[in-house]
């Protein structure tokens, strides 16, 4: 495996650590951290800062009986939470979003397929399957787009992105990612706004495919 060269920016890790990253991005960041020990170490560093804030932010008096209540609950049996492990190329957080099932791919034409994991008012996140040599239609973004490579690789004007690499594209970036030769490229992509396609046909299809 080649080394991960495109990482989660620090401000985004801080926002993720403090829980202030919209859910679609948080999924991509959690998936990236599952693959990237450097970002995991950096995230844990942010937790340390958070812990320092927790240590020093000040105490509030607890209401009477609160402690007794909590201690009485220690032995209450609980159903353990289901945790999802990596399966194939999909890291745990993606498996969780897939609820443990394989992705349901829908064709977008030209061999490109997608599987929408979440599409809500705070943005959307999907898996994309792009055959080797195939371009994702030329597009720019209304908002911020995070793309994490899970299999294969793609290249665009800003560089080459292999497994584990995270690309961050904002409104300024107009790019045409092309899947490299070899295995089909599978990506996890999150946006906080619909993508804008530059060619007419994809733009007409856009509402249909929710891309």
């Amino acid at each position: 495996m080649t080394a991960i060269t495109h990482h989660t920016p620090d401000a985004m890790l801080a926002a993720y650590s403090s829980g202030n990253l919209p859910q679609p991005y948080a999924l991509v960041v959690a998936a990236h951290i599952s693959l990237c020990q450097e970002c995991r170490a950096a995230l844990e560093a942010h937790h340390v800062v958070g812990g320092a804030v927790l240590d020093t932010v000040g105490e509030e008096e607890l209401s009477e009986g609160f402690k007794t209540n909590v201690l009485a609950l220690l032995d209450t049996p609980v159903v353990p939470e289901v945790t999802y492990q990596r399966s194939g190329v999909f890291p745990g957080p993606v498996m969780e979003a897939l609820k443990g099932k394989p992705p349901r791919w829908k064709s977008l034409g030209l061999g490109v397929r997608q599987s929408i994991l979440r599409d809500e008012c705070d943005g959307s996140v999907r898996l994309l399957h792009i055959p080797p040599g195939q371009a994702v239609p030329d597009h720019s973004h209304n908002g911020l787009e995070l793309t994490l490579v899970l299999q294969g690789s793609f290249s665009d004007d800003t560089g080459r992105f292999g497994v584990g690499d995270l690309e961050i594209a904002d409104q300024e970036l107009e790019h045409t990612p092309i899947a490299d030769k070899g295995a089909p490229c599978i990506c996890l992509a999150a946006t906080d706004a619909p993508l804008r396609f530059n060619a007419l046909i994809p733009r007409l299809l856009q509402p249909l495919f929710r891309i």
């Binding site: 020990q37 170490a41 844990e44 020093t56 609980v78």
Partner: protein
């Protein structure tokens, strides 16, 4: 600038936990920060070390560069390498500078490589913090007394933390209860080699808080589980604690405005755009300073990849 000599001590397993002088280094540059001293060190053979000296805690040694073709001696520590001179990389935790810095004229410096100055010593006694001791007792022995101690320390702080981020009194206690029960139930996931107790609880607190507000689970990275047979590595655990201690002090020394920004950010009140445009937020410093978990992670992940 005065010449500084720094002794690096290493623990040699073949000598039953004894420490001996590994090498003496001459400081080539010293940066004085309010809370730390940074030493650039040279050994005369192309090797450079950077040492951070958070008094009165033990010194940690950082390696910046090492000549690739230099043969590794039996008793040399296994060091990290980086091509980026500005990145601080933590050494293996069994390399620790535990003796003080001495200032004396350069001509009295022993010949580099001479090991005459090597002698056996016993490291000073060191102990885990109260929080780590309690947490390990909860994890390994399901110790209720230790849990009560953790409760007494963290419950009022957690309540303060949630109320600062605008949660009502009743709801704050509801989350505090949830967080502390999670601490009890998921204690097995606490790995003191990677996380200091406050940091671990902070992360649980943020997760539970958000899950409750959003009514859906926040995506979290896959857990790395410690091999249950792993022998505790005291020096690594202490190094993690020390790191957090340094950071706490560094935060305490910040200007009030900067502290306020840090608090806002880690209470979850700033978006990532706001964080990235905050010039007062010393995130770069934090990131470069805390690389402690990295080697541990490399070690843990070796088998997973």
């Amino acid at each position: 600038m005065s010449t500084l000599f720094v002794w690096v001590w290493i623990k040699n397993s073949s000598m039953q936990n004894k420490w001996h002088v590994w090498e003496q280094y001459r400081a080539i540059s010293v940066g004085l920060f309010p809370e730390y001293w940074f030493f650039g060190l040279t050994h005369g053979d192309g090797e450079e070390l950077l040492v951070e000296h958070p008094r009165p805690l033990p010194l940690m040694v950082h390696k910046l560069r090492r000549d690739a073709d230099q043969p590794k001696g039996m008793d040399e520590p296994n060091l990290f390498r980086t091509n980026n001179d500005l990145t601080f990389i933590w050494l293996r935790s069994d390399v620790m500078l535990i003796e003080s810095v001495e200032i004396r004229p350069a001509k009295r410096r022993p010949v580099p490589g001479s090991r005459k100055d090597r002698k056996l010593v016993t490291p000073p006694p060191r102990e885990y913090s109260e929080q780590t001791t309690w947490m390990l007792a909860v994890r390994d022995k399901r110790d209720r007394v230790a849990f009560v101690a953790l409760f007494d320390y963290f419950a009022p702080r957690l309540k303060g933390f949630f109320m600062r981020s605008g949660t009502s009194n009743g709801q704050a206690e509801e989350i505090v209860q949830d967080v502390l029960l999670t601490v009890w139930r998921k204690a097995a996931l606490f790995d003191p080699h990677r996380a200091q107790v406050s940091a671990w609880i902070y992360q649980i607190a943020r997760n539970r808080h958000i899950d409750m507000i959003r009514k859906e689970r926040r995506p979290v990275p896959e857990e790395l589980r410690e091999d249950p047979d792993t022998e505790p590595d005291a020096s690594q655990i202490l190094a993690v604690e020390q790191e957090a201690g340094i950071l706490n002090k560094a935060i305490a020394k910040l200007k009030p405005e900067q502290r306020a920004i840090i608090e806002k950010a880690y209470l979850g009140e700033l978006t990532h755009q706001e964080i990235s445009t905050q010039t007062g937020l010393p995130l770069g410093t934090i990131k470069s300073r805390i690389r402690l978990g990295l080697e541990r992670l490399r070690h843990d992940l070796k088998d997973m990849r």
